[in-house]
Amino acid sequence: MSVTEVIVSIFLLIGAFFSLLGALGLIRLPDVYNRAHAAGKSSTFGVIFLILATFLFFLFTGEFNAKLLLAILFVFLTAPLSSLMVSRSAHRTDVPLYDKSIRDDLQETHKKKEKKQQKET
């Protein structure tokens, strides 16, 4: 194995490991909000490493492919925001939190808003 292949394979193994970690977190953690942690952090990290490995592989063979860098930027910018959207919609549609949860500040503001709306109507 040459040096470039060693670098590319290290990146590949790290990326595959963290993708598997995100998927395992998706199935092991107890409720939607905790699963959003795993999906938003680990999957993003793994995919960034995998695409970076692809980019380096083609860079070493002599092709500079900027589309892959663009895809890395896009995944990095959007993945936490999509987990925010999913968890917000889960909270609005009253998906219950995990049993051991202690505090829920957002619930109180929702109740206040509903009372206001009832008074107005």
Binding site: G22, L26, S43, T54, F74, S83, M85, V86, V95
Partner: protein, 91 residues
């Protein structure tokens, strides 16, 4: 050896895709399923990257870009839909 490592990465990615799909099937609530589909899309991007190295072709780079955009837009659209019942708010 290099080929062996690529196959290991490919198999690991397939396992994580299968796990995401299982969560899509059994997820107790709808946001669970949406989250699992989002993670499925992101893992699919990495899968395509590994296949690009394995086949030594650059043709799938457009696929990666389009998948990353479609995954985000569809997640936002579906979660807005289950939140309010509409995607675009007309006030």
């Amino acid at each position: 050896m290099f080929q062996f490592i690529q196959y290991i990465a490919l198999i690991t990615m397939s396992i994580s895709l299968i796990i995401c799909f299982i969560r899509t099937l059994i997820g107790p609530s709808i946001p669970d399923r949406v989250l699992a589909l989002d993670a499925f899309g992101i893992n699919l991007i990495g899968f395509t990257g590994v296949i690009m190295i394995l086949q030594d072709t650059i043709a799938y780079s457009d696929v990666i870009l389009v998948l990353s955009i479609l995954s985000f837009v569809s997640t936002v659209a579906v979660s807005k839909f289950i939140e309010r019942g509409t995607i675009f708010e007309r006030n």
